[in-house]
Amino acid sequence: MSAAKRSGPKSKVRAAAAKPKAAERWELRLYVAGHTPRSLAAVVNLKKICETHLSGKYRLEVIDLLANPKLARADQIVAIPTLVRKLPPPVKKIIGDLSNTERTLVGMQLVPRR
């Protein structure tokens, strides 16, 4: 499924990036485990990106797995931190502290690859 989506026409991605619909809702979930420097960095980096690119049309939920371990299973979380783009579909995952803004934007499909 995912492979098919990925190999889909690039133009689709580009179109989505070029003119995001006004009504488009972004639902993001950031999984962290405790207040480690890496987790905190991820939260800061993500908020910065969202404010810059998605201001007013996103919802961000930060989930601490140490407090809610059973949530890890549903979203297939292995690496920490993991950012899950729940909406718009398809679901995308970006792992790491999101320090590389360019790659994060690509991963979130906010900008086209390359």
């Binding site: 371990p69 979380i77 292995v78 920490i80 970006i94």
Partner: protein, 496 residues
Amino acid sequence: MVKKSAVRSALPKAPSGILGLDEITGGGLPRGRPTLVCGSAGSGKTLLSIEFLVRGVELGEPGVFVAFEETSEELAQNVASLGFDIRRLSAQRKLLIDYVRVERSEIEETGEYDLEGLFVRLGHAIDTAAAKRVVLDTIESLFGGLSNAAVLRAELRRLFHWLKARGVTAIVTAERGVGALTRHGLEEYVSDCVILLDHRVTDQISTRRLRVVKYRGSNHGTNEYPFLIDDDGVSVLPITSLGLHHGASSERVSSGITPLDTMLGGGCFRGSTVLISGTPGTGKTSLAARFAEATCRRGERCLYFSFEESPGQLSRNMRSIGIDLGRWLKRGLLRLEAARPTIYGLETHLAFMHRAVRESRPAAVVVDPITDFTLTHSLADNKAMLMRLIDFFKSEGITAAFTSLTSAGVHPEQTEAAVSSLIDTWIVLRDLERQGRRHRALCVLKSRGMAHSHDVREFRITNRGVDIGDDQPAPAARPAQLRKRPGVPARKREMP
């Protein structure tokens, strides 16, 4: 620094519950530590580890199975054929299955990360199930899903330490690598116990083998042991050669033919090994069946491995000479196991025979014949297998009868040279042509530990059974009138 001997005696083990594996490992896997099980695709890693968990539940130790390759539904279907109902065990919360999927195409990596998510999931699963046993199958899949190998390595190292700290007995499975035990060198991290599974096909015959590569702080068998996977799960054949430690009974058991017992000075020893060799049609199977019948008559169980005739055919043929095997089959004293020698490798045969013996606990075993194995296997392999078989029977105190076919034209005492040293009592059947008639002749070539007759006696097969005459079969050198006529009661006579 603790003394080595102290470590050895202090190392606690968790019984795997897998038939044979606990014997090889001297009690099971290292308790509270991870064990690495490696092998190529299809070598039985998943099945072995699932059985480890299922048996653990039976022993009162709940388990967690972290599947990296199959969903819990697929896993349940796959192991149902082995008689494991893991759906029921999960419903009872004794076995928790967590399917971990890492799909590279869905994941973008940016910046630093660790595998704390996996740790959290595993920790949560262990807590939920109050697990004592954990399986990670196959954790190396992470290398396919995540690109930062350095991070993965560091995290796996941390994971194995963490498992140890949690005190769970764990199995970590890994794919066999080229020129190394595992593809990603996991053997560096799991250092307590490493088990290698192998599945080889030689001459179109497949054999599964298991080897304990390493077991820190413990003695273990170092050989390759054949193992089976069938509807009862995994069973490892723990013997290669048990050595010569078995006791020796001086109790005699009847061969089923009174004159033969007399020739042996009262029967063969219980727990000894008897070889019946002869050219085609000399009555090897008849003699063996008589031995089986005699065992059942005593009220003892007998296990008959037939490699040439189906159970039905054997019963019919023996009925024609007055040996009613069906009666003993019905009463459960006799068990017939028939298989073509060529369908399995030697080791697999050995493993099947081993398991059949373990199941039915016979007092006597017949293997009819052993020679068919030479069709597909080398003489050296054959001898090694027979040695293992004989050692096993002896250690169990089982009286064993083997039949062996001597090819026509070959000296009857030559072909069995490979096995004769392993045999306690050797009965040779021959075909003699005298005065236009074929006669069967029997002699005891050797019999350890007893004064046996050196006579060559006539051996008769009639519709009333098998019998042995009191003298030589029709020696041509003698005048005809001095020969014993059939039907005339024979006198005991001195050998010339």
